[in-house]
Every structure is written in C-alpha cells, then in structure tokens.
Amino acid sequence: MVCYSRVVNQYLALSIGLPGHGFHLAHDPLALLFLAILAPQIIATGLGPDRKSVAYWFFIAGMVLTVLAAEAFTLLLGFELMSAASWLLVLRGDRKPATLYAGIAMFSGACLLPALFIPPGGIAFSLILLGAGAKAGLAPLHAWLPRAHPAPSAGVSALMSGGMVKVALYILIRYGFIVLGAAAQPWWGTALIIAGSASVLIGSLRAMLEVELKTILACSTVEHVGLIAVGLGIALRAKALDDPSLAALALQGALLCAIAHGLFKPLLFLGAGAVKHATGTSSLDWLGGLIRGMPKLGGLMLAGCFGMAALPLGPGFAPEFLLLHAVINAAGTGEIIARIGFTALLAILGLSAALALGAAVRIIGIGFLGRPRSLRAAAAEEAEQPVLFGMGLLGILCIPVALFPGLILLLLNPVINQLIPGAAQTPLGYAPAPLATLLLLAAGATYAALKRYGTKAEREVHAFNGGFGKPPAWLPFGDPVTQATGTGFAEPIQRVLGVAILGVKTIDPGELYVLDPLRRLNVQFTRAAERVRRATIRQRLAFVFAALVLFLAALGFVQGA
C-alpha cells in the first residue's frame, strides 16, 4: 500500500494548473465583496432552466476563479473561461453577435495578459483599461455589449450584465488601485472618467431609444458601467492627487453602484426573459398591458426599474447620490480645465439620470401598462415560479441597499481601506429611512384625507381618449394605432438628442468609429491574403525562392558588416 502510494506520488502526481506552477487562489475584502455581488445573481439565475447547461457552470466557475485568482495565470484562465463559456451561451442564443463578442472578449484577454507582466506604469494601466474596459463595455469599446448581452437566455443575460461586467471592473479595480496602485498617476483617473462619461451618455441615450427590451437593459448596463467607471476614475485621480476623502467618497459611490446594479439588472433581465417567454417577443412595440396577465412579474419589474431609474428610496439612488457629490467635490478644487470638465460631467450625469428615468418609465409604461399591442401580449400568462422566485430574491435584497445604504457602506469599509489606505469616511448625507417614513406618512395622510373628505364612488367607463369614440367590438383593446409606441415615446428625444449624438441613422459611435474601420481593414487585408493564396505553383515557388534569396542577401549583408 505504501509502495503503491509512493508510485502514485512519484509517477502519477499531477501538476494541476500551469505546468510546474499550478493554481493559486486568495481572498481579501475586495474579492469577497465581488463574490458577494455575484452570489445572489448566481442563485437567482440558477433557479431557472440555465442550470442544466454545462456552459453556464463553466461561466460561473470562470467568474469565481477570476475573482479569487492570486496570480496571472489563474486570473486569465478564469477570465477567458468566463468569456468562452459566455460566448457559447451567446452563440446558442443568437449566432450573429457571437463572433464580435468572442473577438472583443479575446481582445480584452490579449490586453490583460501583457499588463500582468510589464512593470507598473502608464502602459500597464492603459492595457488594463483597454482590456477590462472592453470586457466591461466601457466606451469606446462598448458597441458589442448591446448586441451580445441580449442574445443568450435570460439567466445568462442577467449574469453577463450583472456579474461578468463586474468581474471586468473587479480586474480594473484590483490592478488600478492595488497592483499598480503605487505608480498611479492622475491621468489614469482622468482617462477612466472620460471613458466612463462617454459610456454614461451613450448608454443612457441608447437605453432610451432602443425598442428591444433586453437591448434597452444592455444599454442601461453600459450606462451603469460608465457610472461606476466615473466613480473609480475620480477615486483613482483623487488618490493620485493625495485626496483620500474624495477618493473614498467616489469609491463608495462606485462600489455601491456595482452592488445595486448587480441586484436590479439581473432582476430586470430575468423579467425580460419571462416576458419573451410569455409573449414570444421582447420588442416594446409589440407588448403593452402585460401587468394584467402577469401582475407579479410586473410588480417585480417595476421594482427593478425603480432601481434602474436611480429614484430616491430605490437601490439606485444612493450610489448616484454619492457619485454626484464626488463629482461636485472634485469640481471644487484643482486645475480650472479639470473643474470645467467636472462641471460638464455633472451636466452629463444629470442628463443621463433623466434619460434613465425616461427609459425606466418607457419599459414599464409602454411594456406593462397601457393596452396590449399584440394578441400575444394580451394573452400573456404569469411567469413561472422559479423565475419569480429568483427575481423576488433579488428584489428583496434590493431593500437593504435601498433603505439602509449607510449600513452597506459600513460593510464596505474594509474594502475602501484596502484600496485607499487611510481614507476618512464621510457620513452619508442621504437617509432613505426617514424619507421613506415621511413618504409613507404623506401617503397615509393623503389616503386618510381622501377617505374622510372624498366620496368613494367609482365607475368604470370607456376611456376619454381625447374625446374619440368607442372602438369597434372587434378591437377589444381599442385601436392599437392610437397609443404611443416605444419608438414614438422616444421620438422627441431622438429628434433633439439622438440625431446630435448618434447621427441620423442612430448608429452607435462605438460601431461607427471603432468597429467599422476595423472591419474594413480586415476586408482589405483579407483581399490581399486571397491574392497571395491564389498564386500559381510557379508563383508559390517564386515566393520561396525570393524569400531564400532575401534571407541570403540579408545574411551576406550582416556578415559583411
């Protein structure tokens, strides 16, 4: 027996991981935080049908591995595993964006790999920013996200938007603040802020203009990634400029945003999947009035949109609040150009907050309220139990984030201390609990007043509809044409802002200025390669011969010199 084990040890022992080096895992507050962000999404999506897919578990394994990685190989292995598994899931959902997605995913891996090896400095950070930014959907490399995230099944979309993007940001944080932290320069933060604010603007605008429900959510993810990046950028800049309190404030905002977004976005994606399942479409222009058939789902979606719109008393407001204060504080000191920049950033953030509200209202108002725009929407039935359960779980977890962000911030303290040593914590100036009390009080008082002074009489009538008559009997929900569509709702904004930023054809600048030129370049080079490939035997022989003579001549040249 002993002898056997020796044989096993000597000859059959396996070197798990990188041959000769192996795997290394470690955990610290930052990693634990991101694991905590991932956990509820994994549980919620795991309740759905996706758990039967092997790729889904590979996907999760990749994310967890990335977060827990202690060295470059494991980190990259996890990262690429995550990309590969999610690519397969995207592919099975929709073949069209899969290649683009794989390309971007591999591009980010290709950027991260060198960054892990070259000495800390600007180049390393730029590569990290490119790599992690591309994966997270940070402008200008964001154009793939609204295409790829909606493609797979709902649970996977939820995990991609809520989890995978966070893992990319985790890498950005880990390298920007910890690994490369000592070499940090203010411009790192500035770059992050610029990329973030562009994402915020484009993401929120497209979220307002898109018609597919999942695409809207994906665009909103771009916006939230931008918000987090803005927070991280301010923190990084402040850290480099030796302003730990501002850095802590911005970081609080960014991390809280990551937490909140990790809850409400998967919830919304799961809901969007359920809508698609129930109606066969997720285009807002074919939905409407879903809340009648699926009240529970509608309520949960409302809760999610509440967070997405960053309204007070919702989970999304506290992060937005912190971020806005961070921007205001950042605008308070420093170079005049930077201050003007921060002022503009503030305007962008205001614009996008309103756009986010508009997008959220659009999802609920067009999709769930109003009249059905198709028979399938009219016949929609309540989502399945596991989906509702998963969404409910995420919804319940939103409550502490929404009402007690102060507590969550206390829990974040170790992370913030890890990232910015010696940061002074500023108390949160936003107290949702008393506000919620006041709101309930006001609502209660209103209700009591109505009860006391008003009549209770109610009568169901045909809608006023600007005085138009009753629709014919064969249109049980009225004429569908007389109600605003998703496109129509967004039309004023498309006219005023969409044309200015996205152009007349509403093409994402990331598509127009980044992906399209690359495609054209590829086509050109491919044509050249085809010319080489079409060479005749004699010409191929001539290649060999020419290369040989060239090498010989070079050799003669070098040796002669």
Binding site: P312, L351, L369, G370, R459, G478
Partner: protein, 321 residues
C-alpha cells in the same frame, strides 16, 4: 432639547402653511394673471373649491386602466409632499434640514415626475404618451441644469443641503456676483419648466396637442385628479419657496430663535406674493413656445448654469483660493 422642540414646532407651522396655502398661491397667480389681462378672474380661493368639488365627484376609471391606476397619484403627491417638507419656507433649521440635500430634492421631483409619466401611459391613449414623452425630453435639460446649479451653490456655501445653502447665502456675505446672477436666471427657467408654466407649458390651456403636464392627467378624474392638482399646486409653492430661500434669503427666520419667526413669516409671505405677481406678469408677457423650442430654452438654462460655475472658478482663481 429646546432647539429640537423649537425645530419641531417650526416644522409643524411650516407644514401647515405650505400644505394649507399651496392652493391659495395658485389662486393668487390665476387672479393676478386674469387681472393683468383685464379680466376679473376667479376668486383667490377658487382652487380650494375645485379640489373640494373633485373630491366629491365620482371617480371615472377607464376600462383600460391597470391595477396601478390609483397608485400613481399617491406616489406623485407623496413625493412632492416630502419635497415640500424639505424646502424651508419662513424659517431655516427645520427638523428635516439634515435630509434636505439638494440632490435628494431633485430625486424626489424626479420620483413625482416618473409617477406622473406612468399615469400618463397608464391607460394607453395617445395624449398621455405624448405628454410623458415631452416631459421626459424637458426633464433631461432641467436635471442637468439643476445639477450644475447645485455645483455653484455647493461651491459657494460649502454645504449640499438647501437649508445650509440658504443660511450661508443669508449670513455669509456672499454678495452679488455674476455667478449668482447667471444661476438665478437658470433657476428661473428650470422652475418655470418644472412647475409647468408658460412658456413651456400652459396650466390653463386645454389644447391637447400642446399640453405636457395636463395631457398626462387626461384620463384621471374625481379625487385622483384632485391629488394631481394638489401636487401641482404644491410644486409651485416649493419652487417659489426654494428660490426665495436661496436667492432671496434675507429676512427668513431661524427655528432656534423664536423671535425671528414673525419676521420670517412676513418676509416669506411677501416674497410669495411678489413671486406670484411676477410669475403672472411674465406669463402674460410671453407666449407659449412650440414643444421643440423648449429644449433650446432649457439649453440656454443649462449653459447659464455652466457659465455660473465657470465664472465661479475664474473668480476663485483670481481670488487666489
């Protein structure tokens, strides 16, 4: 302890006055406007009568309404009411002062607006949708402009709460500056939009194609409509109080010094009345804009807001701080 007690009392007075007088303010504006146009106009108390009438009417629920039909007015009104509790009226130092962060206030307005927009989309008829879409468009610029204004205020007052900003502006010898002038103009534009007045929207108009706020309420009636009306009145009150508290804070009281209260009350009342007349005069003097000119109007407000910050930066640079 005494301070807290005084703050509580002041808050109660504030609530009673704000909630009680909001329709009256509306009445004053309507009356003044009618007078300026040479008409007699409705009585000052007409809004109260309207509300009472609406409360007594049977609510007509459209057949296409969903379960949430009755919830939106409550949310709109409650959010506006909470905002009303946060904005100081006659006195600073209310018990809600620590909560009155400017950004929270913006959020509450957004919450009320969101609920109203959903109310507009609720029954699925064209006008509600059109109104909501236009409201979204306007809100883009107002939110951006307000946030930039907040920056100016915070940089001057070094505090983000409305209460603190008011106190600083009253006591801090900020004086008149170009920045504040720009900010004031921008704030007025925003306030006109937020309260749905001419030139952006016409509260009295009933031409559906041009309506924004009213269009969203077309399917509401009875007590639910009353809630929306009341919320609108409250919003006017809040914005007037807000502008008075920030730009004209002189004379306003402190909750801890009871003796200043009467002065504060008088000063607040006078400012409201002047504001009401000024608003009426402005509305009479201008015409309503086409919808797609409003973004330009608000763009100017945004630009003014940014300019006010920029001038501030330049001033501090010159001042050497």
């Amino acid at each position: 302890m005494l301070r807290a007690l005084l703050a509580v009392i002041a808050t109660i007075i504030h609530s009673v006055l704000v909630f009680g007088l909001a329709p009256l303010l509306m009445g004053i504006v309507s009356k003044a406007r009618a007078r300026l146009l040479g008409r007699t106009g409705p009585p000052y108390l007409q809004p109260y009568r309207d509300l009472a009438k609406l409360l007594r009417k049977t609510a007509l629920i459209p057949d296409t309404a969903t379960q949430f039909y009755k919830i939106w007015p409550f949310i709109t009104l409650s959010a506006t009411a909470v905002a009303a509790l946060l904005v100081p009226s006659f006195s600073f130092g209310l018990i809600t002062a620590p909560l009155s962060d400017f950004i929270t206030l913006i959020g509450l307005f957004a919450l009320a607006r969101g609920a109203t927009m959903l109310a507009g989309l609720e029954t699925g008829f064209g006008f509600g949708g059109a109104g909501a879409a236009r409201d979204t468009l306007f809100s883009l610029f107002t939110e951006a402009a307000v946030l930039v204004l907040v920056l100016t205020f915070v940089l001057l007052a070094h505090t983000p709460t409305v209460d603190g900003i008011g106190i600083q502006f009253r006591d801090g010898h900020i004086g008149l500056s170009v920045s504040l002038g720009f900010a004031f103009a921008a704030m007025l534009c925003v306030a006109l939009t937020e309260t749905g007045r001419i030139p952006v929207d016409n509260p009295a108009g009933h031409l559906e194609l041009g309506m924004v706020h009213e269009a969203m309420l077309l399917e509401y009636s009875g007590r639910y409509l009353a809630l929306f009306y009341y919320a609108a009145a409250l919003r006017l009150m809040i914005w007037m109080s807000l502008i008075s508290a920030i730009f004209l804070p002189f004379g306003l009281a402190d909750s801890s010094a009871m003796l200043t209260w009467p002065g504060g009350l008088v000063s607040w009342g006078v400012k409201l009345i002047i504001g009401a007349f000024a608003l009426a005069a402005f509305e009479v003097a201008t015409a309503k804009m086409r919808v797609f000119r409003v973004p330009e109007f608000l763009g100017v407000a945004l630009l003014l807001g940014i300019l006010s910050s920029v001038f501030l930066f330049v001033a501090t640079k010159l001042g050497g701080t």
